[in-house]
């Protein structure tokens, strides 16, 4: 654990404040926090170009800063409640780092607050573990204090002045060894240190527990303190234990989120995107590792302009449905009565639904009863009942087709995005060619890369716009949305076409360069229009969805 920094920041205190009141705080933090080498590498993170109503501020934190945040809170509680640091830490973790609630409950009923968190009341030897390894000068202190502890606890506690048998491994310790080789917390349940080590390592390594590791005694809810664990377990387990504690802190804090990208150890701090705002904000942030992520749901890329909840629904639907739906559409019909999906895998046209026992004709979909004795053929295709049956079926098919329409477009852009690397490589080759044959300088051919950047960015936005469109209700606003979507799609396609053009001669390069630069600017503009309009639409509550948000 680190010492308390002088550069403590103000942010953490504001954790529970309203999202939009905090712009000032964010700026304060930026100016007071330590200069970071990464800042110089990615200036875009710190200074957003121009602020739009749907933009959010965030800060990329290092693990050390997260540790400092916790220490700061712990220090605060420690001095306010006059408890040892580890007690303050256990209390804070129990109250999910809500220090106001902790203070309220603690002053209301200290005993209950301590007990609830797995600590004994202050009158009992709750600080005993701090004396480990036993320091003789503190012992006289402890004895009178134990007399205040509840008798039920004390009867189980053995004084370490008599021989002792560990109740777990049955090893005997004579009285000179009891103090050094065994250990009991304030609850008095004494076990040998080997058994403690085995148990704590198992909890940390095997079960990934950290903040709430309890006494080994069954039913005892006493929480094991940090310093006890650090002292008893090996250093790698202790390291893992602290990692778990930090992870739990981040998970418990609604304004913190780990960057989801592999090997990235940064944490994003954002106070402007609490869960209740996620029905009108898409808090896309960029980590110092260079990747974008959604602060709201942890999606490892930008899913703007679609709300987190819709993304989740869409992903679930796609995981469940897409392949199956394609197959169903190609190979099955639905029972005209109960809508069960039926695959005809042989036999005659007289179908009996296994589920509802409805009998119908596979050819005309009408009820079989009307077929009379024409068992194996159907010439009743135009009968009223058959037409009705096919109508209902057409409806369910239409909804499937609608989904597939959006899914295919979504998947198409997803697929294109996967070919990003290839696209860049091809363009780079072309840029080289232009430098060689067209006498253009390196800087002069960068327009091509910029154009590819624009295409890729627009493709991601387009991809999500199809997911959005699938869930939008049909109305005028949706029409406008689709107009914007169409314009962007067209712009992207023609830019893509230009980028695929072969370089024929020197003269054509100048023209191509002009065209690509213009078209890329247009794509960028259409992209911004779609994004702006959609994200503002959330704030203005313009969008109506076919699902509950």
């Amino acid at each position: 654990m680190s010492s308390d920094g002088e550069n403590e920041d103000l942010m953490f205190e504001d954790e529970y404040d309203d999202a939009f009141d905090q712009d000032e705080d964010m700026e304060d933090v930026d100016s007071t926090s330590e200069p970071d080498v990464y800042d110089a590498l990615s200036p875009a993170i710190e200074e957003a170009p121009q602020k739009k109503p749907y933009d959010i501020s965030w800060k990329v934190r290092t693990l050390q800063e997260i540790i400092d945040m916790q220490n700061k809170e712990i220090k605060k509680i420690q001095s306010l409640l006059e408890v040892p640091a580890s007690t303050a830490a256990i209390l804070l973790r129990h109250y999910v780092w809500n220090s106001e609630k902790l203070q309220e409950q603690f002053w209301n009923d200290p005993t209950a607050a301590l007990q609830g968190a797995g600590l004994s009341p202050p009158s009992s030897p709750s600080t005993r573990t701090q004396t480990l390894p036993s320091s003789p000068e503190k012992r006289p202190n402890r004895l009178p204090r134990t007399t205040v502890a509840s008798p039920s606890i004390r009867t189980r506690s053995r004084l370490p002045t008599e021989p002792f048998e560990c109740p777990i491994c049955c090893t005997d310790f004579d009285k000179t060894l009891v103090e050094g080789s065994t250990f009991a917390m304030g609850c008095g349940h004494r076990f040998c240190r080997d058994c403690w080590g085995e148990y704590l390592s198992g909890k940390v390594k095997g079960e990934g527990e950290s903040a709430k590791i309890q006494c080994m005694e069954s039913g005892c809810q006493r929480v094991v303190r940090e310093e006890v664990i650090d002292e008893i377990v090996s250093s790698d387990i202790s390291k893992r234990y602290h990692n778990l504690l930090n992870a739990a802190f981040v998970a418990d804090s609604s304004n913190l989120r780990w960057c989801p990208h592999p090997n990235c150890e940064y944490i994003i701090e954002c106070n402007q995107a609490p869960a209740r705002m996620l029905n009108q904000l898409v808090p896309t942030v960029e980590c110092k590792c260079g990747h974008e992520l959604c602060f709201g749901c942890g999606y490892g890329a930008s899913h703007r302009p679609v709300l987190c909840r819709i993304v989740k629904m869409w992903e679930k639907k796609c995981a469940d449905d897409s392949e199956t739906a394609n197959w169903l559409q190609a190979n099955t019909k639905e029972c005209t009565k109960c809508q069960s999906t039926i695959e005809k895998n042989g036999g005659c046209n007289h179908m009996t639904c296994k589920k509802c026992k409805w009998e119908f004709c596979w050819v005309c979909m009408g009820p079989w009863s009307e077929h009379g004795t024409n068992w194996y053929q159907c010439n009743r295709f135009d009968e009223r009942s058959g037409i009705d049956a096919r109508d209902t079926q057409a409806k369910s098919r239409a909804s499937l087709e609608r989904y597939l329409h959006y899914f295919n477009r979504w998947a198409n852009h997803e697929h294109s995005a996967k070919l990003d690397a290839e696209f860049y490589r091809k363009t780079e080759k072309k840029m080289e060619q232009m430098q060689n044959s067209g006498n253009l300088s390196w800087i002069e051919v960068q327009f091509a890369k910029a154009a590819v950047d624009a295409v890729i960015k627009a493709r991601i936005t387009l991809k999500w716009s199809y997911c959005m469109a699938f869930y939008l209700k049909r109305n005028n606003m949706t029409e406008l949305f689709e107009d914007n979507q169409r314009d962007l799609e067209r712009a992207v396609e023609s830019l893509g076409y230009l980028l695929e053009q072969n370089i024929v001669d020197t003269d054509s390069i100048a023209k191509l360069r002009q065209d690509i630069t213009n078209q890329a600017a247009y794509v960028q503009k259409r992209h911004d229009i779609l994004m702006d309009d959609t994200l503002k639409g959330y704030l203005e509550r313009r969008w109506e969805f076919s699902v509950d948000i």
Partner: protein, 172 residues
């Protein structure tokens, strides 16, 4: 570690032998202390009354840090006992504490008999009957009680020498 597990099992056995809880008996396999056979008698005033249900407990070297595998050999009809005799009991999984010993395990299993948790069913039929048709549930339980009298220990010892030697082969 294995010596610690064995030392502990010897103590567990001494305790169980000197101060056996009501309706419970158990002892290690004569050749392998890591495998125990136990009998739980159905608690009085419950549908399980008079049943003598046999189980095996298989301990690993990490006992008592890890719980043993407990399995009913007798056929059971109970919401939390699977068809193969394995049982769903919190203290044998996530709520295990190394301070539990064999007596504590068997006592818990015994009290599970009349205090099932139909919310996490291992036997759906039993859970449903327990909730909705206690008469039929009791009738089915009584059946298993009567079945448990049939597989008395002498018969079993005579009937399954090969299976116990199999276990030893695996353990060795």
């Amino acid at each position: 570690m294995s010596t610690a597990a064995k030392r502990r099992l010897i103590r567990d056995f001494k305790r169980l032998a000197s101060d056996p809880p009501v309706g419970i008996s158990g002892s290690p396999n004569p050749d392998n202390i890591m495998i125990w056979n136990a009998v739980i008698f159905g608690p009085p005033d419950t549908p399980f009354e008079d049943g003598s249900f046999r189980l095996t407990l298989t301990f690993s070297d990490s006992y008592p840090n890890k719980p043993p595998t407990v399995r009913f050999v007798s056929k059971m009809f109970h919401p939390n006992i699977y068809a193969n005799g394995e049982l769903c009991l919190d203290i044998l999984q996530n709520r295990w504490s190394p301070t539990y010993d064999v007596a504590a395990i068997l006592t818990s299993v015994q009290s599970l008999l009349n205090d099932p948790n139909p919310a996490s069913p291992a036997n759906v039929d039993a859970a449903q009957l327990f909730k909705e048709n206690s008469k039929e549930y009791e009738r089915r339980v009584k059946q298993t009680v009567e079945l448990s009298w049939l597989d008395n220990p002498e018969e079993i010892e005579a009937a399954e020498p090969e299976s116990s030697s199999n276990i030893q082969a695996v353990a060795a």
